[in-house]
Subunit: 415 residues, 2 copies
Amino acid sequence: MLAEIITIGDEILIGQIIDTNSAWMARELNNIGIRVKQISSVSDDRQHILTSLAEAGKRADIIFITGGLGPTKDDITKKTIAEYFGVNMVENKDALNNVVNIFAKYNRPLLEVNRLQAQVPENCEVILNKNGTAPGMWFNVDGKIYISMPGVPHEMMYMMEEDVLPKLKSTLKLPFIIHKTILTVGEGESFLAERIADIEDSLPLFIKLAYLPKPGQVRLRLSGYGDDKNLISARLNEFVAKIVERVGDVVAAQEDIPIEKAILNFMAANGLTLSVAESCTGGYISHLFTQHPGSSKVFFGGAISYSYELKESILGVKGTTLLTYGAVSEETATEMAQGALLKFKSDYAIAVTGIAGPDGGTAEKPVGTVWIAVASSKELVVRKFTFGSKRQQNIERSATAALGMLNNLLREQGK
Amino acid sequence: MLAEIITIGDEILIGQIIDTNSAWMARELNNIGIRVKQISSVSDDRQHILTSLAEAGKRADIIFITGGLGPTKDDITKKTIAEYFGVNMVENKDALNNVVNIFAKYNRPLLEVNRLQAQVPENCEVILNKNGTAPGMWFNVDGKIYISMPGVPHEMMYMMEEDVLPKLKSTLKLPFIIHKTILTVGEGESFLAERIADIEDSLPLFIKLAYLPKPGQVRLRLSGYGDDKNLISARLNEFVAKIVERVGDVVAAQEDIPIEKAILNFMAANGLTLSVAESCTGGYISHLFTQHPGSSKVFFGGAISYSYELKESILGVKGTTLLTYGAVSEETATEMAQGALLKFKSDYAIAVTGIAGPDGGTAEKPVGTVWIAVASSKELVVRKFTFGSKRQQNIERSATAALGMLNNLLREQGK
């Protein structure tokens, strides 16, 4: 069963927003055995929308359309879909009630433009929007399914979870797709490939292996396709086990989770706690941890010590250290980590201090210079990194490096 | 001048990664007057890549291709492009030197698979990759330009900035596209549209208005297209001024910046400083601020007080307050904000405490309950919010709400 996703809206095409919806939808669809063949972002342009509906209709069985359902004039998805199917627009009673109720709840007057939100192509089934005024729409035409949803992420997500996915599961006979992911840290893509070349060559045709590199980490993804769930699962597990046996020294997790979640799982299982002292990463490392459910079992919190003063007052870094060696130094990173352990009373701590840029660099310490310390009461590791000139990337690479260092320290001490 | 972007790789189609490259590329291309007609994500599949190259070649003048250039077997972009153009692969000396140098620098042995990275279709001009082993490729075929780059974001970005964009600018006669964005906070999309309906109706044909809503904020984007830069610019400015005059009460910025950047700019211009006390947002608000260059002028840092203990020890929240009212309460949020002002010595502070979920909710305080306080030495505003059941969204919506509250407090006190 093949699907395509079409996102409609100029804002993606001029780069004003990033299309996070499609990735989320693709993941959910894969989970129920629907493969996404193509994701296309097209403009709020009648002819372009018509063309992409026709192209997608040729390739896929299910076509998802998001965006362009707002009440304003630039949103033309609904009437263009009606034109595509050659049908009229009608007012839908349930959709209208929904709009009326939402405006009543917030005590705002109902404008004519809002009432128009209840107009839908006459051949659709309305999917109620519990979080907004634009209704979703489900079409069955010539053996294909077309589903149109709002582009606002939480409106789309609730619709998918509560209506669309259950309905797809109950009405379609779906094949199985199983993905297994192995997260490796600290070994490059080509070296990993070399180490497991013979295993890769021996994979059966229905299992594909992909390498997904990010700075400092590579995920290995094995995907099995077919109808025999047990066979696919058994063969996948067999090959996962072979790979893990071969490159176990760099495996951080045997599931599709990011490195910080692997760390949280390991620390939770071992009853360990963590705090942070973030300077140049400015809260990003904390955010990576705290986005995960259950992180509060492990993660105490910490300090974002952007200023000299907070490095001293919250973390207890000595004024003489800052004065002698500077805020971006081995000594300051070390004292920040020790300060976090002492003040926040966690078993482990991460400290990061550096120059994210674009300003603040010197000849001796150019933009991209970052000191990272990870520590427990028993051991402290501190390292210097020299990243590039881009602020956002320096923040992300600092975080990845810090997580890699903590992961290594945990696994070594666990031995 | 129309462009299309094709991203190649199953990882986007199964939702394992979000395509951030395309948005960045689209923004850069728009800046130099190249409109992106369509963005397509296709699979690591020979026939699918060939089809999408043909489709894009029909619609656009410049075709950007990212991804699928890794050294491993699942990466087939290069040989499929060679097939598309009907040419052979050849080893490129500059690309080979680059690979050899990178491996020498990191003192790793050069594998045969790495040497293959220097093979390119014979009709391309190589774009040197200063940050990785996969070369970029530039093709001029039948009056169209095809540019293939690695999918690793920082490799692609450096290539674009250092080679591709300058070369496009110097070889093409580009028309002008100018975007002007107005950031509004606290007014819904349909109410904004109603308030400026007559202005929107009077727009000339070469100016388009789009509404870009996010929870709690709507950006209005005016886009002018054409050859007469001065005319476009003058008319755009005229309509921006009209809209700002009409809805000035909800305008937070007159440029395309997020709310936290508007706050940083306002505070920097007025010599004000900020600190935070984050519980359920877990560093996300700090990250929003600190991702922006120059944030250290305004942002001191603060505490991520995930645990009870840190709320007491760093922020000075009273134990009796936590015991009597709980961590998620008006009283705790208030003391967190006051504690941040006192301990971190900033002019303003944000405090957030809530239940992000999925665990930790009770009948009285369900998941999604969040208390937010914003304060200066003169005034404190504290509000309760009830968001939904999704952790990630609760974090984001808490942050947006907090930023909106701080923005209001700043503008009111500024009057």
